[in-house]
Every structure is written in C-alpha cells, then in structure tokens.
Symmetry: C2
Subunit: 152 residues, 2 copies
C-alpha cells in the first residue's frame, strides 16, 4: 500500500465541526488511540501514525505504530490476537482516536492479561506511596510462549 496522506489540519473550527478527517499528528507524527471492548473496558492505549490509521480504516483491523520498536505494528501479527474494529471515533481536535474492538484470543496485553489496565491506583492516599491493587489481573496466556519477544 502506498503511503496515504491525510489533509492537513485546518482551523480549530474546521477540526471540531467539520466532516473532514484531518488528524492532528504530534511532533512524532502520532495520534493517541484508545481501544475499548464491548464491556466498555479500556483494553489498551497506543499510538498510530498516518499509515497505521489509514490501514486501520481500510482494513477494519487495528494497526498501531510501536514507539519502542519504531515500526508499524499490526495488532496480533505475532500473537494472533487481532482486534476487529467495530467503530472508530475521532475527538474534537482530531488528535485522539477511540476504537471499539472485538479482541481475538484471550487478551490484548503483552503481559498475558485481557487489558493492559490490570492495576488500580488507590484514591485519597498519598500518591508517592501508593500501593497498586491488582484487579482483573489473571494471566490468560503465557506471553513468552505467545510472543517470544514482546509485541509492543
């Protein structure tokens, strides 16, 4: 696939009230992407460059850009845990994307959990000594067996 270019962002009013998809990529060429499942739980937060966003739109499967590996990343390319996108939304200033997905396989997180957000931060406590609480943190697969090297 050739590189797909999106229109350049226009004014704030155009970004907020227009029907043109003109994403506001950051200095690294990325927008933030939040993936939720049908339960409304956030599975993961990752980033998309223009090509990842374009491929996600075209294919209906989630593609990201891995900042750690500095490469395009089809979610599930190693694990088979692909994400079928049922709906994509973009936010007011077009620098963040929300995808609702059907997660294939046991989980989205490279640690083996369903969601990356498997620890709660206690509220009302002193933040600097907060002790995280594991929630919904059951490991559903063996990340070493599935990934070898982390997919991230």
């Amino acid at each position: 696939m050739s590189k797909t270019l999106f229109p350049r962002p226009g004014s704030a009013a155009e970004a907020e009230e227009g029907r043109t998809l003109a994403p506001k990529f950051d200095a690294d060429g990325l927008v933030t992407c939040v993936a939720t499942d049908a339960s409304g739980d956030v599975l993961m937060v990752a980033h998309m460059n223009a090509e990842a966003l374009a491929r996600t739109i075209e294919t209906g499967e989630a593609w990201y850009f891995s900042r750690s590996r500095q490469k395009l990343w089809r979610k599930g390319e190693t694990s088979g845990h692909v994400q079928r996108v049922t709906e994509m939304r973009i936010d007011c200033d077009q620098d963040a994307v929300w995808i609702k997905v059907e997660q294939a396989g046991p989980g989205a997180c490279h640690t083996g959990r369903r969601s990356c957000f498997y620890r709660a931060v206690p509220l009302g406590a002193r933040p600097e000594v907060a002790v995280l609480e594991f929630r919904d943190s059951e490991k559903r697969f063996d990340p070493k067996a599935v990934y070898g090297k982390p997919e991230k």
Copy 2:
C-alpha cells in the same frame, strides 16, 4: 500543595508486575489519561503531569495538564463540569492512566457535547477522503456562555 514526586520507573518487570506507582512520564513530563463514564463511553483523552496525577489521586477529582495553555488544569474549574473519579487504573508500562468518572453537568467536551468523541470515521473507505459522521453530537450547553475561552 508542594510538588509531589513519584518514584522513578524501574525495570520493565517492575513496571509491569510491581505494586509501586512509578509513572513513566514522557519527554514533556506527561502521561496520557483516558476518562470514561459509567456507560463505558470515552469522554475525553487528555494528559497529566506529575502534579495533576498527584492531585487527582489525592482529591478524587480529575486534574489535567493543558498542553495548549501549558498549565495545570482542574477539570471543571471554569465550567463547573468537574469529574469525580470512581476508579483509577494504570497500564502495564505505567505511561497511561484510565479513570472512570462521574461527569458533573451536561458534558465533558469544550464544544458543548457529552463526549469529545462525537464523530465516527467510516471504516472500509478510502481514508484520505473519509467523511466524518456526527454521532451523539447534540450540543448540551453553549460553550461560549459556559467557558468564555475554551477550557482545554
């Protein structure tokens, strides 16, 4: 309130499997924050610096850091549309926070909507000519009357 410092991030294993809150702030000193409501809808995506994160934990109300205004921002400080945090989660590598909130007032978005994600991106189409579809996009308040200048 004095500036609260979090422990420095440790190894990947400590970040992922530990009980210590040691957020991995980016080069700008920020983590990404996703706010969802009880319906599971994403209301907004914003950023927190160390102080915003600390205040959110201590007070149970959402504080952010405005990149456009380069200042600490208590959500609702202008509009009264505060967010009461019912649960906070942190992700595997501790660079993203998910808060479940009760949104006071008619909406979270500075454009007057309930959520910032009021437009859908059609899937399967050519991305560069995508026509956004407004969804759940009713303006519930007059942003000029409520904000004067946008709170963002």
